[in-house]
Amino acid sequence: MSAAVPGSTPLSAARIAAAVRRGERSAVEVVEQHLAVIAEGEPQIHAFNAVMDDQARRAAALVDQRVAAGDDPGPLAGVPLALKDNLCTRGVPTTCSSRILEGWRPPYDATVVTRLVLAGAIPVGKTNLDEFAMGSSTENSAFGPTRNPHDQGRVPGGSSGGSAAAVAAGFAPLALGSDTGGSIRQPAALCGVVGLKPTYGRVSRYGLVAFASSLDQIGPLTSTVADAAVALEVIAGHDPLDSTSVPEPAPRLVSRLDEGVDGLRIGVVTELMGEGIASDVRRRVEAAAEALGAAGAKVDDVSVPAVTYGLSSYYLIAPAEASSNLARYDGVRYGLRVDAPTTAAMNTATRTAGFGDEVKRRIMLGTYALSAGYYDAYYGKAQKVRTLIIRDFATAYESFDLLLAPVSPTTAFPFGAKADPLTMYLSDVCTIPSNLAGDPAVSVPFGAGDDGLPIGVQVLAPALAEATMLRAAIVLEDAMAREVST
């Protein structure tokens, strides 16, 4: 599948880094080439809130100097990197696509940004998202939606829609997104790229502007499975600045990619293959199951009953945490301030003007769910359901190494098609369970739907089993390549 922007022939991050490290290509040349693609395509796609041309050029020159001096700039040397605009970048505006953060420049870099830059990657821009990562289409951005490079009349998915579109359009081979209920995997599926949500705690959240702290996780969006593995190796591993980051060091992923799936037990989650899932999407998941079976895996159906309650549980827990996380945008210290006679009136005026409808909706929902007298019935009950989901996944993983499911119930939908919030929320029905369980999952492009638009299939794994998960993902990628070439 080719990117929608003519003239662009995306190179993988791994190939770029290899060439730059060997001195065969300069990082400056790589960056200029990508900036040219951006200049041509961005006016139509609107993947970025800000393109960091000057910083990118300077950073590329530094990488080249290191190569010239005989240093190794690292496994992502010279690789253009698109950063979701809810990741803090020192001195560079970080907006979360919200008016409320107008003018705010973080005084520090997110841990993931530091690690990627230390590995030689070159940030080229901050990508668009649904405001504060709340949404599944980027239509909730205060700065206008991103368009899907495969069909500009359709959404790229969300909330990491800008990151997915940037990779699909060839603006950057590597992007970071954040995934609270599917925000990496769903746009990856809709834009035909790889999107990986790691185990909760695998990647430091330090510097990720919080939406729902117990669910948020940063991960890569790439054009190949191997690139996702390289990026995850770089950003994973304990960070003393994030108390919830797991103590384990970064896993070895790249060297295990070709171990295959022979003998692995893979279960297709029956609850996620029924009503509400488009038949073309279901067929691609079935095809993926066959491909894995052909590669030696033992594939069977598996029931994970509690996942059906994932959506309702999620829409209490995530808004509850968000209502607290977003309280700090009060006009006192940074960002937007709308003046008023008293502090309380200033808080209200600022938040009324600064937040969009979806953010306000979730703040109200979450505030209500945590209120005295309602806590047990809503937040408390939702946490119990979360425990059940964790338990049911654990039971499934007693008999299976990996699970298989759809990512998005449909292919990319037209702008405005899901104006009703509840309809929009259903976009995440297959992705939310992994966030609630804290388990890793990856969306792998696996063909197209009846409308010719990309479909992704989802490989789910138990906590910290990213290596096994990626073995299956790359088998699917290879199978797809064969399917296309025959």
């Binding site: 005084p107 117990s214 108390s243 607290s324 700090r328 009060d330 008293t342 309380a344």
Partner: protein, 468 residues
């Protein structure tokens, strides 16, 4: 006429004496230039995350163990409310699973006041309101200093076991002594590193049901606390005596007016929407750590008092005063060195309020032995003690240098007889039982001996003469 009983429970907030803040590496220091000890974490900048300070946990545990609390696995919650000096608009605090539960504060008079819990939380920043007399609603503008934001606090919640303003004051003083002894806090109310809120209610004597309480805030000294308790108890008693009701309220103490006024009612109370803090993991101090903290605890004020009372046989008030002054170790060492227990305690209570300077236990012991043996009068002993504090040395040598040679018995007896012979009218009054005249004779003898006489010895001789 109903007799009323005041019931008080105190919530005491103390800043822990850590080097750095509760969730970041910023300095925990009082009085620095505003907004210099700040970072993304304690400013609550988007994307920042808290990391728990192990030192703060250790100090909290040390305090908890000193109060006889059970140290438990605990959890942090978010307490949500909007306030400009709170950077995240929520406070990270402990809610239903605090680190310390079920302790006791033992007062000097032996009363045991229950401690329900002593939990960890972060402090807020500090607002100052410019113009309009410093109150927020009249101010021209407000300034916020976030140096204090994120400083570790323990909140120590007493049970409603206190019964008077005096007892409330004694509780706060005792708690401060424990905080200082453990090194958990410098516990300075005037700098705000120790802050007290009082829950006050009244009920008829004999009742076991608690009355409706009011919480009084803005108590900046133990004096304010005592005044506020007395005021609030009186106010509530007047209401109830007039057949009216006490409304559950949070009230503000006005030090200048000497009265409390309502801040908000129960209905207006904040809904804090507590929920477990997802950015932190549960805290369960490993048993070995707890044990080490417990073993390293210093001797605490109540134990010091018991030890000193047992060794000296002194009364509770003297013992409390000497321990409060931190002189009990000196007294005990002097006792060990052969000092006189009664005289040691008298000097420690009355003559060593300042520093003990160059005084050592051996000299202190020697001084009181001389005194007890009649070699020094009380007045002389005080002078010698002052010299020992100022320059040190041996008490006999100091006494000699000051010219305090012990007065030979026959010289003293002669001086007494001379005084009697010179004042027959006064002597008659003494014989008639006018004890006050004794002071007159003591004065005469002192004059005659240039102050070297021991007043007690003179009185004894007078009695002896009168009886013969």
């Amino acid at each position: 006429m109903t007799e009323w009983e005041t019931v008080i429970g105190l919530e005491v907030h103390c800043e822990l004496a850590t080097a750095t803040k509760l969730f970041c590496g910023c300095r925990n220091a009082f009085g620095d230039e505003p907004n210099t000890n700040v970072c993304p974490v304690c400013l609550g900048l988007p994307g920042s995350l808290p990391v728990l300070n192990r030192g703060a946990v250790e100090l909290a545990m040390r305090l908890g163990l000193a109060l006889g609390c059970e140290v438990r696995p605990s959890l942090f919650h978010r307490k949500n409310y909007f306030y400009p000096d709170m950077p995240k608009d929520y406070q990270i605090s402990q809610y239903d699973q605090p680190v310390n539960v079920d302790g006791v504060v033992e007062l000097a008079d032996g009363a045991r006041i229950g401690v329900e819990r002593a939990h960890l939380e972060e402090d807020t920043g500090k607002s100052s309101h410019v113009g309009g007399g410093g109150r927020i609603h009249e101010a021209d503008h407000s300034l916020v200093d976030y140096n204090r934001a994120g400083v570790p606090l323990v909140e120590i919640v007493s049970r409603p076991d206190l019964r008077s303003s005096e007892q409330a004051k004694a509780y706060v003083n005792e708690l401060r002594a424990v905080l200082l002894a453990t090194g958990a806090s410098d516990a300075r109310m005037e700098e705000g590193s120790m802050r007290v809120d009082a829950n006050i209610s009244v009920r008829p004597v004999g009742s076991s049901v608690l009355g409706t309480r009011c919480e009084v805030k803005n108590l900046n000294s133990t004096r304010s606390l005592a005044r506020a308790v007395d005021y609030e108890a009186r106010r509530q008693i007047e209401l109830l005596s007039a057949g009216e009701q006490v409304l559950q309220q949070t009230r503000h103490w006005d030090e200048a007016d000497g009265r409390t006024s309502p801040l908000r009612s129960k209905e207006e109370a904040f809904d804090y929407r507590y929920f477990p803090e997802p950015d932190l993991v549960p805290l369960s101090p490993e048993p070995a750590w707890q044990a080490a903290v417990g073993e390293a605890l210093p001797l605490l004020p109540a134990a010091r008092r018991r030890r000193l009372a047992a060794a000296t046989g002194a009364g509770a008030a003297s013992v409390a005063m000497v321990v409060e002054r931190g002189l009990d170790d000196l007294v005990l060492a002097a006792l060990e060195a052969g000092g006189d227990p009664g005289r040691l305690m008298v000097h420690a209570e009355h003559d060593l309020a300042g520093a003990t300077g160059a005084l050592d236990a051996t000299a202190f012991a020697g001084l009181t032995s001389m005194e007890a043996g009649g070699a020094l009068t009380a007045t002389q002993a005080k002078a010698v003690l002052a010299e020992l504090v100022a320059t040190g040395g041996d008490p006999e040598a100091v006494a000699g240098a000051l010219g305090y040679e012990a007065l030979p018995g026959e010289v003293l007896a002669g001086a007494v007889d001379a005084a009697i012979a010179a004042n027959p009218a006064a002597w008659d009054r003494f014989l008639a039982g006018d004890a006050k005249v004794a002071g007159f004779f003591v004065g005469q003898v002192m004059k005659a001996t240039a102050g070297k006489a021991d007043g007690k010895a003179v009185t004894a001789l007078l009695r002896q003469r009168a009886a013969s």
